[in-house]
Symmetry: C2
Subunit: 452 residues, 2 copies
Amino acid sequence: MKTPSGISGIHISTDREDLICYSFDASIAEPALPHAVAWPKNTDEAVRIIKYATENNLHVLPRGAGTGMAGASVPSGTECIVVSLEKMRKILDVDTKNMTAVVEPGVVNGRLQKDLEYLGYFYPPDPASLNICTIGGNVATNAGGPRALKYGVTRDYVMGIEVVLPDGSIINAGSKTRKHVVGYDLKDLLIGSEGTLAITTKIMLRLLPLPEDVITLLVIFKDLESSGLAVSKIISSKIIPRTLEFMDRSSIEAVENYKPTGLPENAEALLLIELDGYPLTVKKEAEKVVDICNRLEGEAIIAEDDIAREQLWEARRSISPALYQIKSAKINEDIVVPRDKIPSILVSLRKISEDTGLKIVSFGHAGDGNIHVNIMADKDDKEEYAKALNAVKKIFEHTLKLGGSISGEHGIGTVKAPYISMEIKERELQLMKGIKGLFDPKGTMNPGKIFI
Amino acid sequence: MKTPSGISGIHISTDREDLICYSFDASIAEPALPHAVAWPKNTDEAVRIIKYATENNLHVLPRGAGTGMAGASVPSGTECIVVSLEKMRKILDVDTKNMTAVVEPGVVNGRLQKDLEYLGYFYPPDPASLNICTIGGNVATNAGGPRALKYGVTRDYVMGIEVVLPDGSIINAGSKTRKHVVGYDLKDLLIGSEGTLAITTKIMLRLLPLPEDVITLLVIFKDLESSGLAVSKIISSKIIPRTLEFMDRSSIEAVENYKPTGLPENAEALLLIELDGYPLTVKKEAEKVVDICNRLEGEAIIAEDDIAREQLWEARRSISPALYQIKSAKINEDIVVPRDKIPSILVSLRKISEDTGLKIVSFGHAGDGNIHVNIMADKDDKEEYAKALNAVKKIFEHTLKLGGSISGEHGIGTVKAPYISMEIKERELQLMKGIKGLFDPKGTMNPGKIFI
């Protein structure tokens, strides 16, 4: 590509092999080739790219690692420049006195975790893709993860943010101090905006001291109901584990067929429970949890060391890729319901599966009501796929009726855009679209996402 | 007042004694009589009031208990209807399974705390005015409090919000689930907006299990520097107390003159430290804290029971009213700096006090860098008062240079409005004003606040 003069010196490509690499994300959204891919190395380059795009009526799609599940990172078409932040991957500052870190958006979540753990601190949000996904992408989708149950989501740890607006101006929002009441909260507006408002170029994160001890338990249940009951009994006993993950029988089978890790295939449900804190506290809590599970005929196994713990987590994190072994396509939803409504939603899911004949695999974050519902369907089998899409709508209806939400972690992107008005009412959508117009009057940023 | 037909049946008054009662708040802002005061009993009445006001070109000022320190609850003048939410004071729901509560805006913070504690849960935000201030007011200012050090501020506990917009439409933002990525975050935009966007009519809060044990320590220091050093040493030892409050010598003297509680008047600084959690953990942490303080020649006293604990907190909470004994007026700022910059800001404050000859009393939340700086000045002494206002600007300059912020808890209101552009840049202010225009195109809501 002949580099346009306004962006000389910036790494940019229109080579077909590059365009293909950036034409898709981890979702079922139809891939689309962009006009070009640009890799800014710093904020100044991001400004120059966005200005060039705005002046030439091109769209801008900021992109992290492309692990998104809702299609927000799929180009809107040949008018679109993908701005990949992967070269902005410096950890700029770790300030242990104030327990903050400043990172560029391309820093991989897992790498930051490792660096911080070495210093005795930690950054709680831990999406399953943590070894690939970037902090910038996490901010764009307000990413969660298993530890959200105790520690909250990305939003709870972003203190400040630097972004570039479509007109090329650089703005800052938030503060290095946790208390901060000076004007409207632009920071939280930007978090979770899926690249539709600005390019994030710097992020200040809040850190926590690393807990002294962690105990990981795997509990095997003979029936689904008991596992659901165990979840509510643990929480109502006032123990808040850092994770409380759930796998149904189909997820267990899928993982064992894909990459055997020794999970008991005949179990009806598993809970992966992790407790952290002071050694004595954690031990006491673990005993209580084991007791609760035993009374429900759950058989608890304690991971004796880091290797055993990693093996259990490896199994949990393998579910998503493993499911592709069952069918060439899955529709992967991430509904969330109030915690006590998990048994109800599991019943609805089973009924929908029976009514449609579709295999539905469920796993996820039982502790905070966030269930990853995978409808296994062959995309080439038009009839089956249409049935699956219809099931999605039913699942959302049941979820919303229970006071839940259609997305806990993945966001809306293009995949859930047709459903957003099931949850968000017209007046609220009007305000959101008004905000979009304020930040991005020409519609430069990631068009066709969230709102359609 | 002849009640206008559109709002018949709603309690509304234009009696002079009512207007006077609602003409001021806890700030130094000049009182102003409103046009009327209305007391809606439910959302529907709030809608009818706001519609009436909009149609008649009147302003609307939503008001909690009027404990605000920045003038946001002072009427803009005779075109203004004060909408006092004090009659909407029902706790609508406490859901222990999901650890949430739904309250009306007029519920008093301290009353909610007591009700929840009885059930074994707690709502962390605890502004010093907690026995008077309302949750609605807390939301409007994103209120903090001593426990913010460990638990965060109001924003961290508001899950969902129902508000009435100036056009009378009712919108909902947020979710009963902590994970939620569906469109832009309108909830956080409304939190901290100081009544300039909408009337809050319902709030869903996140609760936590009540910690099993609390230990309260009072530590007496012979010099200011040691107390500052103790704060950073405690945090860097990876202990996060739930509170880490600081009082300088002048604050101690003021409290003892106002309402003697037995604080040692010859101390140069006090730290009020509270640890919570499992009994064994808390005990271990308290021992560490005492050891750190002893090495800095701090003398620690442990509150043996609830009465002793309450007495210590009573002293801390009396500082603000006690200061009026020194001078008829105080300019009460609530700057916040990164925690490790506390020694630097204390040095600056001392220098400003010496240079100007003004008495400056400092106390507050040392753990999170939020210092309440009180410049004692007689409002009738024009020269002294002008000097004091000049000192405010200097203090803000020093604060911002240290990476801090001009308001940690109080917000901007009218009192800090002249200074907002010292911290928030033009482009960010433009966006904020744009948002104001979107929510409130006719400028109905609480005009003259935040932005001038």
